[in-house]
C-alpha cells in the first residue's frame, strides 16, 4: 500500500520561493499523454472523480489509474457549488456517510498538503414554526446520538448570533429558533479539485484533461475500456463520476438510471467586509447563504424544477432566491449581485446518491448527488475507491446501491417524496 503523503507546500517553501523567484514551483499536477490502457479509468475529473483516484492510489495501492476529464479539471459542479459542508442527516446510512466525510474534511488540507480553507464556521438552520422545530429537534437528536455536534437554539439565541435577520413584525415567516452545527462550514471548492489532483498526480495517477469519453468499449457484456476524443483507452475497470451527466454516460453502457438532470443556480455578491459569520439556512424555503473569505456573499435556493443541461437558469427562480435573501436578511437589499450561474444536478427520486457496482460488469457508478454532492466529496471518493478496488460496497455506501428502489430502500432525508423535481 502506498503510504506516501502529498508534499511540497509550506510557509518555508513559500519564503524560499519568494527569495528565489527564478525557481518555478512546477505544475500542480502532471499533464501526461494517455497510455493505451490502465487498471482503472475514472470518467470525470471533478471532485468526486479526483478523490476516487487519490484514494485508489493512497488506500488501495492502485495507481495505474487515469482520470479522464472532458474539459478543464474541476470545471463541473466542484467549481460551481456554494461550498457548504455539513453532516446533519437524519436517515440511517446518510448520517454516518456524511459525518465520515466531515471527519475527512477536518484533516484534508494536511492530508493533501494543500490549503483547502476548510472553515468550520458553523451552520444555523432557521425554523419558522413549532412543528418545524420538532423536525429539527429530531435531526439534532439523531446527530448527537451519532456523535455529531448539534445545538438547538431558541429565537433569542439565534438573534444573538445572527443579529441581521428580520425579527420584526414585518417578517412573513417568523423565526422560532434554529439548529446549529458548529463544525459545519465552508471549503474553498476549487482547492478541493486542485488538491486532490495534485496529490493523486504525486502518487502516479494520470489526470488527463480535454479528453471526452464518447463511448464504452464492451466485450461480452462487460466494459473493457472507453472510446475518447483522444482515442481508445482500455481499462480493467471503469468508474463513472460525472454527476449532472450520469444518465448520458451510463447510457453508453446501455444503462437507464433513476436520474433526471436539473439545474441549480448559485449567486455571489460583491465583496464586503465580514458581516455574516456562519452558514445560514432557512426553513421557510430552501435558501442558504455564507460569506466567502474573499468577502462575497455566496447563496442559493432550490432547483429550477425541470430537467435541462443548459448551465443557465430561469429568471423567475433568480428573483425567487433574491426575495428569500432580502426577506430573511433585509440588509441584502442593498448588496449587489455580482454573478449568477448554474450547475447541472443528478436528481434522484429519493434525494440520495449512488456509489455502487452496476449491472454491467467492470462498470461502477458514482452519481445522483442531487444538490448536496460537494460536502460528500472526500467520503464519496473514499468509498467509491473501496468499491472499485474490492468489488463490493463499503459499509458506508452499502445503502447507495442502484437497485434500492426495487427493494424499497429509499433514503428520503427531507421527506419530500418520490419526485425528482422536488427532491
Amino acid at each position: 500500500m502506498a503510504k506516501r503523503k502529498a508534499k511540497g507546500y509550506s510557509v518555508f517553501s513559500l519564503l524560499r520561493h519568494a527569495l528565489q523567484p527564478e525557481k518555478p514551483w512546477g505544475a500542480a499536477w502532471a499533464k501526461p499523454e494517455p497510455r493505451s490502457s490502465y487498471d482503472v479509468i475514472i470518467i470525470g475529473g471533478g471532485g468526486h472523480g479526483l478523490a476516487t483516484a487519490y484514494y485508489l492510489a493512497r488506500n488501495h495501492g492502485i495507481s495505474n489509474v487515469a482520470v479522464l476529464e472532458r474539459g478543464d479539471l474541476g470545471s463541473g459542479n466542484v467549481g460551481r457549488n456554494t461550498t457548504l459542508i455539513r453532516s446533519n442527516y437524519v436517515i440511517d446510512g446518510n448520517t454516518q456517510f456524511f459525518e465520515h466525510s466531515m471527519k475527512l474534511w477536518e484533516g484534508l488540507s494536511h492530508e493533501l498538503n494543500y490549503n483547502c480553507m476548510v472553515s468550520h464556521r458553523g451552520q444555523i438552520v432557521l425554523g419558522v414554526s413549532p412543528v418545524q422545530m420538532d423536525v429539527f429537534a429530531r435531526r439534532g437528536n439523531i446527530m448527537r446520538l451519532n456523535g455529531i455536534d448539534a445545538e438547538l437554539l431558541d429565537r433569542g439565541e439565534v438573534q444573538k448570533l445572527l443579529p441581521y435577520l428580520d425579527y420584526s413584525k414585518e417578517a412573513r415567516f417568523p423565526i422560532w429558533g434554529g439548529i446549529h452545527q458548529p463544525r459545519a462550514g465552508t471549503v474553498r471548492h476549487d482547492a478541493v479539485a486542485w488538491g486532490y489532483a495534485r496529490a493523486a498526480s504525486q502518487l502516479g495517477v494520470h489526470v488527463i484533461e480535454n479528453c471526452e469519453v464518447t463511448g464504452m468499449v464492451m466485450d461480452d457484456g462487460k466494459v473493457t475500456g472507453v472510446e475518447t476524443s483522444r482515442g481508445r483507452i482500455l481499462a480493467g475497470k471503469v468508474g463513472i463520476a460525472v454527476a449532472g451527466h450520469s444518465s448520458h454516460v451510463a447510457k453508453m453502457a446501455g444503462l437507464k438510471l433513476p436520474v433526471e438532470s436539473h439545474i441549480l443556480q448559485a449567486f455571489v455578491t460583491e465583496a464586503v467586509k465580514p458581516i455574516v459569520h456562519h452558514v445560514v439556512s432557512w426553513g421557510a424555503e430552501l435558501f442558504y447563504l455564507s460569506q466567502s473569505d474573499k468577502g462575497g456573499l455566496v447563496f442559493g435556493g432550490h432547483i429550477d424544477g425541470f430537467n435541462t443541461y443548459t448551465q443557465r437558469g430561469q429568471l423567475f427562480k433568480i428573483r425567487d432566491v433574491m426575495e428569500c435573501a432580502v426577506s430573511l436578511m433585509p440588509f441584502m437589499s442593498r448588496m449587489r449581485l455580482l454573478r449568477h450561474w448554474g450547475g447541472i444536478m443528478d436528481m434522484t427520486p429519493d434525494g440520495a446518491p449512488f456509489i455502487c457496482r452496476t449491472p454491467v460488469r467492470n462498470l461502477y457508478l458514482n452519481g445522483g448527488w442531487c444538490y448536496h454532492g460537494f460536502k460528500a466529496t472526500p467520503t464519496s471518493g473514499f468509498t467509491f475507491a473501496h468499491t472499485i478496488a474490492s468489488d463490493e460496497e463499503h459499509e458506508l455506501n452499502r445503502c447507495y446501491s442502484l437497485d434500492r428502489f426495487e427493494k424499497g430502500g429509499e433514503l428520503d432525508d427531507y421527506g419530500i417524496g418520490n419526485w425528482t423535481y422536488k427532491q
Binding site: 482547492a191 433568480i318 442593498r334
Partner: protein, 976 residues
C-alpha cells in the same frame, strides 16, 4: 496634488449650477452634468482609493461602467451602499462618498505594508500555506484573512430605498444608445414598432457624448428629439441591460431617485448595440493615479472639461488613441505619443505633426514614477527617454462587449483583426450593431444600427419601409489598426504590471499560474482571481488571455475566453426582489373566517402559506394555557373550529366512483349516496400521499377533502391522472378550496348546538348518522352537513359558500350560546387528534407507508389501486419497520418533547434508535403527556416501557407504548 484642471468653457457641464457634496468628510463642489468621478478630478482628487491586496494608491482608470479603482461607499446608515463606481454616479446635491480599503485615508494608508510582501502574495499563495501546524489551523488564520478581504462595508440596517418591478412586451429592445443604438431605435421607431431603448449613461448618445464636434452633437440631438417625439418609442437612461434569459427575456435595471426600477421585458427582437470597452496596456507600475484609458481622458476632456495640467503621454498599440492626443493638443497640453507599433501608418500621423505632437514609434513604457500620483513615464524601445507628465493615456485596443450573447450560452469567438473576442453568433431574433461586433467607427455604427433594425423589422413582419437614417456629415471612419496584444517578454517587471487592477492580479501572477499548470482560462481566472471583482474583468480579461496564450505558444482564440454571466454590472439585489419581500414575501392565505378570528381574540400562526387561528383569548393568554381549555371545551361541551383550509375538490362525472376507487386504497365504488368515507391515497411508489374524507353527493358527484398541506398536490395529481393517463374516464375535478368555508362543530353537545342553530333540520342520529352527509337549504344558501370527527367526539362539519361563512359561524355561536359554545383553534385541533390517534402532517411525511401508519387494513385486497404494487416491496413490508404507536409519559415531572428518539429499555442510547416522537400533547382525558410516534415493530410491543432520548437537552424519559387511539377506542362517542 492634482493632475487635471477644469476649463472655463466647453464640455457638457452646467457651470451655472453648483453642487455641494461630501467626500471623506470634506465638503466639495462640482457642477451640473458632473459625475462623482469628474467632480473629484476637478477638485484635484486624483488618488481616490487603495487596491484590494497590496493597498497601492489608485485613481480613476476609466470614465465608465468598467471602472476597477474608483469605488466608493455611498450614503450613511440605512442608505449606505459600498463599491459604487464614481464614474457612473451623476453628482447630486448632498451626495456623500467615502473612499474604501484605506486606513486612515487613501493618501496615508497603513495597510500599504502589504505591498512589501508582494513576492509572497502571488497567485496561489493561500493554497500553499496556512496548512499547519494543526489539523484545523485554518480556523486560526481565517479571521485575519477575512478581515483583510472585502472592499466596502455593508450596513446591517434596513434598506429604506423603494425598489419595484415593471413588466413589458416590446417588438424591439435596443441595448445601448450610442450611434448604433440611436440609429437602430430611429429606424424601428419610424416603422411603427414598439421600441424600448435602454442606456446605462445618464444621457442618450454613448460615445457621442465624448466628442467635441458640433456636427455630431447636432446629429445626436436630432436623433434624441425624434425618438422622444415617437409615441411608440420608450427611452430609458441610467438603465443597464443586465441579463438576457431564455425566451428572449431581457432585464433592465433603471436607477430612480429613491431606488431601482427593474424591467423584465419579453422582447420579440433585441438589437444589441452595447459598444466596446477599452483595454489598458500592461507595463510596470501601470496603476498609478493619473494613468487612464485614452478614451477616458478624451471623455474627461470633451464631456467634463477636464484637461491635464501641463503634459500628457499617450501610449497606444492602435489608432483609436490618436483622437485623444489630438484633443489634448488642441486644448494646449503638450503631448507625446508612445506608439508600440514599429511603423504605424495612416493619416493620423500627419494630423499629429500638424498639432505638434511627438510620435515615438516602436516605443513602449518601461516604468512609471510618482508616489501617490503619476509624475514621470519612462519610455523604452526606439525612444528610451523619461518624460515628466501629469497624465498617461493608454490604449491597448478595444474589446467588444459580448456579455449579452454570452448570457444566452453563445461562446465568444476570437477575431485576430481586432485582437479581441466578438459574439460567436446571435440567438434567433437577436441582432448586433456597432462596436460590440468589433465594427469600430462612428459611421459603421450608424450603418450597422440601421441594418440591424431592418433585419429585426423583417423578422417581426413589418413591411413598411422606414425612412433611412441620415448619416452625420463627418469624415469617413479611420480604419482600425491594432498591434499585438501584451506579451510577457515586453514587460520589464511583471510583478508590478497590473492586469486586473481591482484584484491586484499582475502579469507575474499569470506567469505563476502558467508554471503551475493552471493553463486554461478558467483555471487562470480561478487561481489568480482575475476578473472576479466587481468589474468582472471588463478591462482585464482579454489582456490576461493574450499573456497566457503567449506563454503557451498558442493564439488567443485557441485559449478561448471565460463565460460572462449575468448581471452585466453589479445589480442591487433589492431591485431583483422588488416588492415581494418582508410581509409580502409570499402571499398570505386567509380563511373566509379570518376577520372574525382577528376581531375576536385569536392569535394566528403560519401554517404553510395560511394564517390560521392558533388559540383564542377566551381560553388563555399563552398557547400552553389556552389549548388545554379549548380541548376541555370539546371533550365536555361543544366547540367550533375553522377547518376552511382543508383542500376541497368536487369530483363529477359518470366515472367518478371508478376514478376514486382507483385513487384511494380503500373502496369507493360502492359508497352510498349521502355517506362519507375516510380514504388514503398512495403515490405510485406505495408511500402515503394524503388522506381525507370523501363524500358521495350523488351517483356521479363526490366531495373530496384533502389535508391543508397537500391540497395543491392532490389536485394536480388527480388532473394528471385524468388528463394524461385515463382520458377514457368521464370525470372532471374542480377545486373548491377557496369557494367553500368549513367549520367543525365538535363535542358531546354538538348535536344540540346544531339543533339550536338549524331549527327544522333533522340532525338526529337516525337522520344524520356517523359518516352521514346531506346538503340542506339554509338562509338562502345550501349547507353541506357532514357527520365527521377529527377529535373523536360526536362532531359535525358544516361547509358553506365562502362568503356565507362568517354569518353562519356567528349564527352558530349565537344560537348555541346557551350551551356555552366557544371557538377553538389549531393547537387544540391538533391536540384532540393526537388523543384520537389520527395521523396528520408530521406522520404523513412522504416516508411512511400505509402499514407504518397502522392503516394497512384499509388496503383493498381485490381491487387495484395506485401504489398497490410498489407498496409491497421487500423493505416496505419488513417486520422491523417503524409504525404508529401511542406513547404515555411515565415520569410526570419530566417533559415530553417532539423529535425525541425512541429506544428499547435495554438499548444503548446511540445511533438511530427504534423510532421517534412525531407529535406531543397534554391529554386532558388522561391527565398526562401523551404522544404519537413511530416505533419499530409497532403494536407487537404494546405495553412495553421504553426510553425517549432528547440529547439536545440531555434529557431521557421513560414512556409506555400504547395504542395510538388514546380515547374511545370503540368509537362510542363517534356514534352517539
Amino acid at each position: 496634488m492634482t493632475a487635471f484642471k477644469r476649463l472655463d468653457k466647453g464640455g457638457r457641464i452646467d457651470r451655472s449650477k453648483t453642487i455641494a457634496f461630501t467626500y471623506d468628510g470634506a465638503r466639495l463642489f462640482g457642477h451640473g452634468g458632473d459625475t462623482l468621478a469628474s467632480a473629484l478630478l476637478a477638485n484635484g482628487k486624483t488618488l481616490v482609493g487603495r487596491s484590494f491586496k497590496y493597498h497601492r494608491p489608485r485613481g480613476f482608470l476609466s470614465a465608465g461602467i468598467e471602472e476597477p479603482n474608483g469605488l466608493f461607499t455611498m450614503g450613511e446608515g440605512a442608505r449606505q451602499e459600498p463599491n459604487i463606481p464614481g464614474t457612473m454616479l451623476p453628482l447630486a446635491e448632498g451626495l456623500s462618498a467615502k473612499s474604501q480599503n484605506a486606513w486612515p485615508s487613501p493618501s496615508f494608508d497603513l495597510m500599504a505594508v502589504n505591498g512589501l510582501a508582494g513576492p509572497l502574495f502571488g497567485a496561489g499563495f493561500y493554497y500553499k500555506t496556512f496548512i499547519g501546524p494543526f489539523k484545523k489551523s485554518w480556523m486560526f488564520y481565517e479571521p485575519f484573512i477575512r478581515r483583510a478581504a472585502g472592499l466596502g462595508k455593508a450596513s446591517e440596517t434596513l434598506d429604506t430605498a423603494r425598489h419595484d418591478a415593471q413588466y413589458g412586451f416590446f417588438d424591439c429592445v435596443v441595448v445601448g444608445a450610442g450611434p448604433a443604438g440611436l440609429a437602430a431605435a430611429l429606424v424601428a421607431g419610424r416603422a411603427g414598432a414598439k421600441v424600448l431603448l435602454a442606456e446605462q449613461d445618464s444621457e442618450l448618445g454613448g460615445s457621442l457624448l465624448s466628442e467635441s464636434s458640433a456636427t455630431l452633437e447636432r446629429w445626436r440631438m436630432d436623433a434624441v428629439s425624434e425618438l422622444q417625439s415617437l409615441a411608440n418609442v420608450t427611452t430609458l437612461v441610467r438603465a443597464t441591460a443586465q441579463g438576457l434569459y431564455d425566451g428572449s427575456q431581457i432585464t433592465i435595471a433603471e436607477h430612480k431617485s429613491n431606488g431601482m426600477l427593474f424591467h423584465v421585458i419579453r422582447a420579440k427582437t433585441i438589437i444589441i448595440a452595447a459598444g466596446a470597452t477599452e483595454r489598458p496596456l500592461v507595463f510596470a507600475n501601470n496603476d498609478r493615479p493619473g494613468i487612464m484609458l485614452a478614451s477616458a481622458v478624451k471623455t474627461y476632456l470633451n464631456r467634463f472639461a477636464l484637461v491635464p495640467k501641463s503634459r500628457a503621454v499617450v501610449a497606444t498599440n492602435n489608432d483609436s488613441a490618436y483622437e485623444t492626443a489630438f484633443g489634448l493638443a488642441e486644448a494646449g497640453v503638450a503631448v507625446t505619443v508612445a506608439e508600440l507599433r514599429p511603423s504605424p501608418t495612416g493619416d493620423m500621423l500627419a494630423q499629429a505633426a500638424a498639432l505638434g505632437i511627438a510620435i515615438f514609434p516602436n516605443t513602449g513604457i518601461a516604468d512609471t514614477a510618482g508616489d501617490k500620483q503619476l509624475r514621470q513615464v519612462k519610455l523604452a524601445g526606439r525612444h528610451s527617454v523619461t518624460i515628466d507628465c501629469d497624465v498617461l493615456a493608454v490604449s491597448g485596443g478595444w474589446s467588444p462587449n459580448v456579455h449579452l450573447t454570452s448570457h444566452c450560452g453563445i461562446k465568444a469567438k476570437y477575431d485576430a483583426k481586432i485582437a479581441a473576442f466578438v459574439p460567436g453568433g446571435f440567438a434567433e431574433s437577436h441582432f448586433g450593431a456597432g462596436a460590440c461586433l468589433g465594427h469600430f467607427g462612428l459611421l459603421a455604427a450608424v450603418r450597422d444600427g440601421e441594418s440591424a433594425a431592418l433585419a429585426a423589422l423583417a423578422r417581426r413582419g413589418f413591411t413598411k419601409k422606414p425612412k433611412p437614417v441620415e448619416l452625420p456629415s463627418v469624415r469617413e471612419d479611420r480604419p482600425y489598426h491594432i498591434g499585438t496584444g501584451p506579451r510577457l517578454s515586453d514587460i520589464a517587471k511583471p510583478a508590478k504590471a497590473f492586469i486586473d487592477f481591482q484584484h491586484d492580479v499582475t502579469a507575474k501572477d499569470i506567469m505563476i499560474a502558467h508554471e503551475e499548470g493552471f493553463h486554461s482560462v478558467e483555471h487562470m481566472k480561478r487561481y489568480t482571481t482575475l476578473g472576479m471583482a466587481t468589474d468582472q474583468g471588463k478591462t482585464s480579461n482579454v489582456n490576461a488571455i493574450a499573456i497566457m496564450a503567449d506563454l503557451r505558444g498558442i493564439d488567443a482564440g485557441t485559449a478561448g475566453t471565460t463565460t460572462f454571466r449575468p448581471p452585466y454590472s453589479p445589480l442591487t439585489i433589492g431591485a431583483l426582489a422588488g416588492r415581494s419581500v418582508g410581509k409580502h414575501f409570499r402571499p398570505v392565505r386567509r380563511s373566509p373566517l379570518h376577520d372574525w378570528h382577528a376581531n375576536n381574540g385569536a392569535t394566528f400562526i403560519e401554517a404553510g402559506l395560511w394564517l390560521r387561528a392558533w388559540y383564542y383569548a377566551w381560553a388563555g393568554s399563552t398557547p400552553e394555557d389556552a389549548y388545554i381549555k379549548e380541548m376541555e371545551l370539546v371533550r365536555k361541551g361543544v366547540g367550533l373550529a375553522d377547518v376552511s383550509t382543508l383542500g376541497k375538490i368536487d369530483v363529477q362525472g359518470p366515472d367518478a366512483a371508478e376514478f376514486l376507487n382507483r385513487v384511494y386504497v380503500n373502496g369507493f365504488a360502492k359508497l352510498p349516496v349521502g355517506k362519507a368515507r375516510y380514504g388514503v391515497m398512495l403515490n405510485d411508489d406505495g408511500v402515503v400521499l394524503d388522506d381525507g374524507t370523501t363524500s358521495r353527493i350523488s351517483d356521479t358527484q363526490f366531495y373530496l377533502t384533502t389535508t391543508t398541506a397537500q391540497a395543491g398536490e392532490v389536485m394536480s395529481w388527480l388532473e394528471y391522472l385524468l388528463q394524461c393517463h385515463w382520458p377514457e374516464l368521464k370525470v372532471h375535478v374542480a377545486s373548491l378550496t377557496d369557494e367553500f368555508g368549513g367549520m367543525a362543530v365538535s363535542g358531546p353537545k354538538s348535536r344540540e348546538a346544531l339543533q339550536l342553530a338549524l331549527p327544522g333540520i333533522d340532525v338526529s342520529n337516525e337522520a344524520l348518522p356517523y359518516m352521514g352527509v346531506k346538503d340542506v337549504p339554509f338562509g338562502g344558501t345550501t349547507l353541506r352537513l357532514m357527520r365527521l370527527s377529527f377529535s373523536g367526539e360526536l362532531a359535525y362539519e358544516v361547509h358553506c359558500p365562502a362568503n356565507f361563512a362568517i354569518s353562519l359561524w356567528e349564527h352558530i355561536l349565537t344560537a348555541a350560546e346557551p350551551l356555552d359554545i366557544k371557538p377553538y383553534g389549531l393547537e387544540a385541533l391538533a391536540s384532540l387528534r393526537i388523543e384520537k390517534g389520527h395521523v396528520a402532517g408530521l406522520e404523513l411525511d412522504h416516508r411512511n407507508t400505509l402499514d407504518d401508519l397502522g392503516l394497512g387494513k384499509m388496503a383493498a385486497k381485490e381491487k387495484p389501486f395506485i401504489g398497490k404494487e410498489l407498496r409491497l416491496r421487500e423493505k416496505y413490508q419488513a417486520p422491523e419497520r417503524w409504525s404508529l404507536m401511542g406513547l404515555e409519559l411515565l415520569e410526570p415531572e419530566k417533559k415530553l418533547r417532539g423529535g425525541s428518539i425512541l429506544f428499547a429499555a435495554s438499548d444503548e442510547i446511540k445511533g438511530h434508535g427504534r423510532g421517534y416522537i412525531t407529535s406531543v400533547t397534554w391529554s386532558t382525558e388522561l391527565d398526562k403527556f401523551i404522544a404519537l410516534g413511530l416505533y419499530q415493530g409497532g403494536l407487537k410491543h404494546e405495553g412495553e416501557e421504553i426510553i425517549a432520548a432528547f440529547p439536545l437537552k440531555d434529557e431521557q424519559v421513560r414512556l409506555k407504548l400504547v395504542s395510538p387511539h388514546f380515547i374511545d377506542r370503540q368509537g362510542v362517542r363517534l356514534h352517539a
